[in-house]
Symmetry: C2
Amino acid sequence: MSLLVPTGGVVPCQPWPHRLVHGAWRVGLEDLIAERPYFVVAERRFADQVGQRNVIVDGGESGKTLNHAEDVVVALIQAGLTRSHVVVALGGGATTDLVGFAAATALRGVDWVGVPTTVLAAVDASIGGKTGVNLALGKNLIGAFHQPLGVVVDSDFWLSLPEVEWRSAAAEIFKAGLLRPELMERLESCSTAREAANYAVTAAELKLDVVAADPDEHNLRLALNLGHTLAHAIETQGNGRVQHGEAVAIGLAAVLRLNHPQATHHISLLDAWGLPTELPSWADAAGLVDLMRRDKKSNTDGLRVVLPGANGSCHLVDRFDPERLIEFAV
Amino acid sequence: MSLLVPTGGVVPCQPWPHRLVHGAWRVGLEDLIAERPYFVVAERRFADQVGQRNVIVDGGESGKTLNHAEDVVVALIQAGLTRSHVVVALGGGATTDLVGFAAATALRGVDWVGVPTTVLAAVDASIGGKTGVNLALGKNLIGAFHQPLGVVVDSDFWLSLPEVEWRSAAAEIFKAGLLRPELMERLESCSTAREAANYAVTAAELKLDVVAADPDEHNLRLALNLGHTLAHAIETQGNGRVQHGEAVAIGLAAVLRLNHPQATHHISLLDAWGLPTELPSWADAAGLVDLMRRDKKSNTDGLRVVLPGANGSCHLVDRFDPERLIEFAV
């Protein structure tokens, strides 16, 4: 077991080019890329917001396939993509993952900017340069670390989001709170997920700090996987029946019960925000264990899991028995 | 026009971890990765040389597709791949390109080692970390810069190579000679492609020096594309009718005729080695021009081409008219 985040928090150890910009997305984009030529790859529902020189994708987790990434690259090249262009990914987290991966591999890599249109994507997927697509074997098993030039957070996109999206984001914001006590203090006064989402940008900034300190996930960045080992397995098995944030809430509840002095207190907050904190009835425990054994953070020594400690600290545990996570998830 | 390689040659400007090792491949591999666990992805014809924990691919340029890369990643993950493993690519240049790309994207990137089994792959594809697959639109349009831990050159693999493979390698060795005058001096005394291939390792070392000085192809590395703008277009149009090295010879002859004081002298050497130095009869000039306009090295300003100068120097020219290359290729 090794200490990942000591009490006192994270200090970025290197200059970091990837920027977080707020406001109207066209203005933020110009702020990031100045006069460089660009193509927007947008979800269909935003087709009317982007100009003619763009590519449309369906969005959603089911669209995160290698074939769709190829479609995006082909469309961009046919539209005239060169290495001088910037690719702009406009949509939810599945879209920023897919389009970021297309940008990572088109012409062996072109610059990109994320414009997340959901709170969850603004807090999580669009930040930190993890891009990728899913395999039937599991989520994000093909991908690349490809840092965007920056991310533009335009909260106008959030106005029409359904309740489940706010809940999903609140789970990731809660995770950030476990790593940053002053954020958790504020979250404790939030009685709904939507209130918690007021701290979306604070959570995004925490993620950016952690990633800046360890972009390639050698140590510190692993802390961001708090609750995610079980969550990814649930999502893969759920195959659309559960949102990312809901699965994360179940995963966080499990690691809290397993290890944390304030587990009950913390879990009651997730409950209050309407997030699930136990395995769904359809879950198959043996299947989840198998999926966890294939986790990307595992190595030849077995499963690696992050466990939360007191005051924003957390620990990396090797050779963890995945069955224990299941045991504490109910 | 800007000077890429000044007279006097290339000086690597940074420490470079990617190593070149000679000898029996199993010994060289252990030298590179010590005790780390690994999987070999090998072409079918070498299936008997690799152990049980391996993945077999068909090899060849037609196998360089995104679907095959996905097949390789799936097979590796099913075999138990983790980020601690090393992936070993054993085969010709199409195989090291394909498997290197699978390694670049599996689990968002695992370490890899190239074991080229052809002279051409030893001189060119396996060196320098350019990995990728082809699209119908053109060669290597999806890929990644992913440096191998090293490359093992085991010349026992070369014993049974057909004549066309030696010729193909000789074209790339000749290109290295245009950048390193002391190599060209020696090549001038070679009367056959097979003799020229004695300088394969010298050419590989030159490539490694250039890549070490500019791994992401911002400037100096572009010099290695000498002759390749037209060559890639010919290969794409030829669709299997021409080998990479043959297309490179035609491309080199074109830039020599266009620009070089010793063009006739140099081209006679390519002729002597049995390499083509003019466009094949099936070539469609207008189609080649279109393909060149989509070249990855192009930008919004137009086509970028590398032209050879005297004494190992070369120049980068922007806004080049691709029709001029066609004009000088016949």
